[in-house]
Subunit: 347 residues, 2 copies
Amino acid sequence: MTKNGEYRFIKACRGEPVDATPVWFMRQAGRYMKEYRDLKEKYSFLEMCKTPELATEVTLQPLDVLGVDAAIIFADILLPLEPMGTGLEFSAGDGPVIPKPVRNAKDVEALRPVDAEAQLGYVGDAIRMVRGEIEGKLPLIGFCGAPFTLCSYMMEGGKSKDFTITKLMMSEEPETWKKLMDKVCLVLIDYLKMQARAGAQALQVFDSWVGCLSPGDYQQHILPYTKRVIDGVKDCGVPVINFSTGTSSMLGSISQAGGDVVGFDWRIFLDEAWDIIGNDTPIQGNLDPCILFAPIPTIREKVHDVLKRAGGRKGHIFNLGHGILQKTPVDHVKAVVDMVHEYQHEQ
Amino acid sequence: MTKNGEYRFIKACRGEPVDATPVWFMRQAGRYMKEYRDLKEKYSFLEMCKTPELATEVTLQPLDVLGVDAAIIFADILLPLEPMGTGLEFSAGDGPVIPKPVRNAKDVEALRPVDAEAQLGYVGDAIRMVRGEIEGKLPLIGFCGAPFTLCSYMMEGGKSKDFTITKLMMSEEPETWKKLMDKVCLVLIDYLKMQARAGAQALQVFDSWVGCLSPGDYQQHILPYTKRVIDGVKDCGVPVINFSTGTSSMLGSISQAGGDVVGFDWRIFLDEAWDIIGNDTPIQGNLDPCILFAPIPTIREKVHDVLKRAGGRKGHIFNLGHGILQKTPVDHVKAVVDMVHEYQHEQ
């Protein structure tokens, strides 16, 4: 996977020429793999995140099976909430529950600063262990949630349909919102830096739910903070991927938040998105995760369409538009990796 | 509300000059109103839809309270599923359940044609009753679900997160998909025509979930059918509103499906959307429904932003980007109507 000691994935993040389009998948370690489900029988999700040996095992599970060009550390974007003091639980099936949601100035005041090295050190430990296992073979990606997505969980108390509480806070209590975002940004920057020090060779910022906002609200209430996090880890010297979903109509604003790479979902043609983001910025995407349930010929057609739209330009990392879905056939995921690597761009 | 016998809302649908921007709200009759909740204590949702006297009462509830420029008949986009044979239930809180979902060619074959006049005549009866009540005061909108949104419920068996079953059917069983869409289009055209004959003075086609698709899938598998429905009711002589959400990055394709008016959500600035749709086509939108929970000054600022972006151009109907949310304060909805009517466009 390396050539002259350089990783294909890292080179693409920098917009450098590569021998083949690099590919990895969001949630490439997870429930669609039998190895993961077997482990999940014995341990809870949080136990797996917090035990470096288990997180390492899960991180490694898909690598040889799929032949992807990068590993991503097994963790959860909500892990920083625990040391901040809101609590964090994962109920079977229903997703995350935040027992003490943040709803007012007092709640924001009560949020504790986090020492990532001390309090989230298990993620750093897992990163070091994974690096030890894949050194010279694959690069490792660290990650965190973006300020909006993280705060939406903190405020709504879990997943939300309309994000009304979060939207109201940002417009009606600008001082409280600012204090919350200031605190969250500090935690996220420290958390990402810790991951980079531990050995993460790229960092992805996940803004999975920011697509619920109007472009005006994004620009006014979110962009400055996402930008602060991304700018804040520049001196780590590793590429940062700015990823969001449901944001096809505001990719211009999204790009302004920065990132060496901008990732987006399947709701826009890749070439249109790249034109908006700017052709000098590397991009990541953008296959619909549902396609992986289709038979191979359909998958091939759709994968080729994405690659054709990338047109062999430098700086394309192939990925889905969001995480791999449960029950996705593993051999279909593997097939995508091969299709991407074997694809010959027309000259 | 009328001037020279013409309704402000209808004139805007035709792109004609109006004395003030017309405004109505999707789901303006519903749970956020005490009058509705009181009635709902006594009757089930389906009873209310199927009893013309009750549907009429609910349709009328918001009109005087809010001062809107149009009524929309109280009904549900899924009503045609019952006579088609899939069954239809509404569980408390969980939304619609389709007991016999459509999953294969045999299921599609089994779908029954619908005689809207005979089998959905209760909607026509309600339309006639409402017309009798508001004649000369307000126009009445009829509606149906768009082929994709309707089929997604039929196939997934209810609301869905990923719409995998529906997406797979369209790519993998194109013949079955075509047969399903052909049947659904026939039903929808007949259903809309029945509503127009009963007295609906405009028709809205709701494609609430089509934003889950890639633009390529929309163009290939959906656009021709939505277009067929819209074209199919042209000779009714009433304006048709083509409404969808989550489609900000494919409004160009959405417009190709037709419609005298194109409606969209809050995920794009109104002026940007209008430029894409084409300035000759009237538009409807686009306030985020969450804004209605904010205090009046915030609501005013956001309402004025929408109106300012419309810039006084002919053919803007003010609406939310989707339906009114539960628990929205009624006086805030009323305040929006006044703000829209009182707004003076800069000359």
